[in-house]
């Protein structure tokens, strides 16, 4: 923890923030990121980012007051605490005393050992140079290779007015390669990987393997034809297909939307929302995964949550505030982009466990449809439940075989409708290697997704080729 911050100062901040309210918390963060970018066969630029400050929140019923400060002087922090307390303004309230225990370090769910010294630039440069060489060697049609690598350490200390005081030290690495190839048409491929681990991760998941994957997709896409338009069967390949769960179900189960009754899943615990082949978990404890957290940004330990079990809705994901208002415990889902913003209920790693079918028999069962290998992302509107997911690599299925690659297209459906049309689930569940980032209310946090091969009887494919 920063030498400018200690338990006594946290107690003072919380006392000033609590005022006449029910609850207060303070979130200290020091995040240091180092990144390098490669372009045109050489190191293009480097970046060092330091995010340090404290966010202070006061809660009174369903009201929350917030202030943050990058000035860590006691005067500035107590002033910010007073601003947060305005939400529960009561002239008779006095500054209350909040007692805190000694800080305890959260039980790590991260991989690797964080080095005491900053990683040397040469290490980053070597990873990128290897990626660049491997991508260029893949195929002469590659026209442009761009790569980046990032290493980040986020140290947090979270103190709450009910006496919790925890610290956590979170590593995060990512390496991404983007390729453009020129063949019959221009083709683009992007592959990223990483997690809550150290750069040693790329000893086994090599930059060469990531680069070759991006190059392969770029080459495939030079042959891509216009995607079809209309309703058809869609087979979603293992791994990044988890984007589907994140959008079609996950967001709609976040506690804020359900407390407010704005989600289509509000008040539907125990009801059928998917076919009985569908089980969905969200897990903050998977070691080293991108969406994992030893404790969330409110100090609650990460958890394994059953969201949907054999098609039946089992639970929501909660942060502290929405859990308390709904009379249930937090599920360790309170997350925030930085100290400048309040936490919200968010997903961690959202995935579906494996089923019975094999990948090949699922593909073989489709006469004419689309096979989605990977996704560029997705989005959902949580009240009606319509969601999209966007193809990054996909193929036509004709007579049970993958035939021609198709260009990027958006697929659209309604959450429960689509999940009810899941008619086969593969035995090949895995987490996506990708480096997905989830946006909500302007805040971006790293997440993981995973899924086995899944067949959906019918989805609207948004290509431009009308049959």
């Amino acid at each position: 923890m920063d030498e400018r911050i200690d338990g006594a100062l946290f107690s003072r901040i919380l006392g000033a923030a609590l005022g006449a309210g029910d609850y207060a918390d303070a979130f200290y963060e020091r995040r240091v990121s180092r990144s390098f970018r490669f372009q045109d066969g050489k190191v293009h630029d480097a970046g060092v980012t330091v995010i340090t400050g404290i966010g202070i929140r006061a809660i009174s019923g369903e009201q929350a007051g917030y202030a943050h400060s990058d000035d860590l002087s006691p005067q500035a922090l107590v002033r910010a605490a007073g601003v947060a307390a305005l939400i529960a303004r009561d002239p008779t309230a006095r500054v209350r005393t909040v007692a805190l225990p000694a800080p305890s370090a959260a039980q790590s769910v991260y991989e690797g050992t964080i080095a005491a010294e900053p990683t040397e630039a040469a290490r980053f440069v070597d990873l990128l140079a290897r990626a660049d060489v491997a991508a260029r060697a893949f195929d002469p049609r590659l026209n442009s290779v761009n790569a980046f690598v990032l290493e980040e350490i986020q140290e947090v200390a979270i103190a709450t007015s009910d006496g919790r005081f925890v610290t956590d030290r979170r590593p995060l690495v990512a390496l991404g390669v983007q390729c453009v190839a020129i063949g019959a048409t221009r083709g683009q491929g992007y592959t990223g990987d990483g997690g809550r681990t150290t750069l040693a991760y790329f000893d086994s998941r090599t930059p060469e393997s990531i680069a070759r994957e991006a190059a392969r997709v770029a080459i495939v896409n030079t042959e891509a034809i216009e995607a079809p338009a209309g309703d058809m069967p869609v087979v979603v390949g293992p791994g990044s297909g988890g984007v589907l769960l994140h959008e079609a179900v996950g967001h709609g189960l976040e506690g804020d939307f359900n407390r407010q009754g704005t989600s289509l899943y509000s008040g539907r615990i125990g009801e059928r929302v998917a076919s009985d082949l569908v089980t969905i978990y969200d897990d903050g404890n998977l070691v080293g995964e991108r969406g994992s957290l030893a404790v969330d940004d409110e100090g609650t330990p990460g958890q394994h949550k059953v969201l949907v079990e054999r098609g039946v809705l089992r639970g929501y994901m909660h942060d502290h505030m929405n859990a308390r208002l709904m009379g249930t415990p937090s599920t360790g889902s309170g997350r925030r982009q930085s100290f400048r913003v309040m936490p919200q209920p968010r997903m961690c790693n959202t995935y579906m466990p494996g089923g019975e079918s094999t990948h090949d028999e699922i593909v073989a069962s489709v006469q004419r449809g689309v096979y989605a290998t990977s996704f560029a992302g997705g989005q959902v509107e949580i009240s009606k439940g319509d969601f999209v997911f966007m193809l990054a690599e996909g193929y036509l299925i004709e007579d049970g075989m993958l035939t021609r690659p198709i260009r990027g297209a958006t697929l659209i459906g309604n959450g429960p409708d689509v999940m009810t049309r899941v008619v086969a689930v593969g035995n090949d569940s895995r987490l996506a290697s990708g480096s997905y980032t989830c946006g909500k209310g302007g805040q971006y946090v790293p997440v993981g997704v995973g899924m086995p091969t899944v067949k959906i009887e019918r989805v609207t494919v948004g290509g431009s080729a009308v049959a």
């Binding site: 060092v48 369903e62 009201q63 990058d70 453009v180 290509g463």
Partner: protein
């Protein structure tokens, strides 16, 4: 205030030079932000803070690195500057790297009307009353509206101060305000939401809460009974807010940073007639009170007016100093801190009202909202989820949802056959409503 901020930037430049940088540039930004949200009769969020940050670009051995920090303690600055310089030394020497060669005089920030006194002057009490009023008005509009995703108001006063080792120094203050609401209408078992808001530099230029509440509520109620349309090729009218999002995709492909790596459908197309006669697109950094206006960009380059498309012909990409040098052009004043950003980037308005544009469309789709974001810039392949209205006989016939619209950006620009007069500058990338003669609508 401006002088203090400039001095902080200058101290950062000095720290970088002390650490061995051959050149350096620093931007200090201070944002005083107020934000509140109401749901029904309760203020549920109230946030007030001052956020400060420093961004320093250092050059050493022909390479560059960027330091961004919220830790402004002077004793840390030397250490961070040294790390940035060490990082720059590990970057390959690049002949295109470096500060701009010369600095032309910049526009007077007062003339740009970036700062409005009515922003700091407006009492918090009034702002809280405004979001509560929005919540009241959307519910009063229609009995089907009994819930909402909240009504929000944000205002900010920003101080920006840029100094570099070539003697450029410039600072200005700006204000911005935004107000929006998210009514949810009950439609039997289903919930129909809408999001609508407005943004400006001053409270004086802001729409009334009555207007914002009315449009938002009409849109939520208007979606009740929506159906899924059939799959077919049809004319598509983009309402101005979504028209702006199409223009944002065009901007991305015009960014020289994307063009340089081949990630743009516009590579090698300068001088080509891509758009229809109606497509004139400008980037204007000097528009008074524009949300994208500023006297100079992130590198201290004076902003200007750049014609990007003229009657369909692609005239130029948009450059910062580095990509300008790389592609053989001058910076267009679009440097944006590590990338290329828009000033006020917009499609020139036409003469028709939106109503007239709809009236002259026999059959088609009117899009009010899109969902999704992945455009394949390398080919321009465009596909989005959408909702809006089906047009029959020149009138909005019924609401539609859960469909996609697809084409590619070059074909879309070429097929723009109607542009409305309803342009307004409530963001950095904006457009009037326009019609594309044909796109693929994918539904049932």
């Amino acid at each position: 205030m401006l002088e203090d901020a400039l001095q902080r930037s200058e101290r950062a430049v000095e720290a970088a030079l002390r650490a061995g940088a051959s050149d350096a540039e620093a931007t200090h930004a201070i944002v005083e932000r107020f934000s509140t949200e109401a749901r029904d009769q309760t203020i549920v969020k109230l946030e007030q803070s001052i956020g400060r940050s420093l961004s320093v670009r250092v050059f050493a051995n022909g390479g560059q690195a960027t330091l961004t920090t919220t830790d402004l303690a002077p004793e840390r600055l030397d250490e961070l500057a040294a790390e940035a310089v060490a990082a720059a030394r590990s970057v390959a020497a690049d002949p295109f790297s470096g500060l701009p060669d010369a600095f032309a005089p910049t526009a007077d920030s007062n003339a740009l009307a970036l700062y409005a006194d009515d922003v700091p002057a407006r009492p918090a009490k009034e702002k809280l009353a405004a979001v509560l009023e929005l919540e009241h008005l959307i519910r009063k509009h229609d009995p089907r509206i009994q819930n909402s995703g909240g009504s929000r108001l944000v205002d900010a006063i920003t101080t920006t101060a840029l100094a570099n080792s070539r003697g450029f120094r410039g600072a200005y203050r700006s204000t911005s305000v935004s107000v929006g609401t998210n009514p949810i209408a009950l439609d039997g078992e289903e919930k129909r939401n809408a999001a609508y808001g407005f943004a400006a530099r001053s409270w004086a230029a802001m729409d009334s809460v009555e207007e914002i509440a009315r449009i938002a509520a009409e849109r939520a109620v208007g979606m009740c009974g929506a159906r899924k349309p059939p799959t077919e090729r049809l004319p598509v009218i983009f309402e101005r807010d979504v028209a702006g999002s199409v223009l944002a995709d065009v901007f991305s492909s015009l960014s020289a940073a994307n063009v340089a790596i081949g990630n743009s459908f516009l590579v090698d197309r300068i001088g080509a007639e891509i758009g229809s006669e109606l497509v004139t697109i400008l980037d204007d950094g000097l528009r008074p009170a524009g949300l994208g206006s500023s006297p100079f960009d992130a590198e201290g380059v004076a902003t200007r007016v750049t014609t990007v498309f003229e009657r369909g012909v692609l005239k130029t990409f948009l450059y910062d100093t580095y990509y300008g040098r790389k592609l053989g052009a001058a910076s267009t004043g679009n440097g944006a801190g590590g990338g290329i950003g828009p000033n006020n980037f917009y499609l020139a308005p036409g003469t028709l009202s939106l109503e007239a544009l709809i009236a002259q469309t026999e059959r088609g789709i009117f899009v009010l909202d899109t969902i999704g974001f992945a455009t394949e810039h390398v080919t321009g392949t465009y596909s989005r989820g959408a909702r809006g209205f089906y047009i029959e006989n020149g009138a909005l016939a019924y609401p539609i949802e859960e469909f996609t619209i697809a084409s590619d950006l070059a074909a879309m620009l070429g097929a723009i056959d109607g542009v409305a007069s309803d342009l307004r500058f409530d963001g950095a990338i904006v457009a009037p409503s326009f019609r594309i003669a044909e796109m693929t609508v994918s539904g049932n």
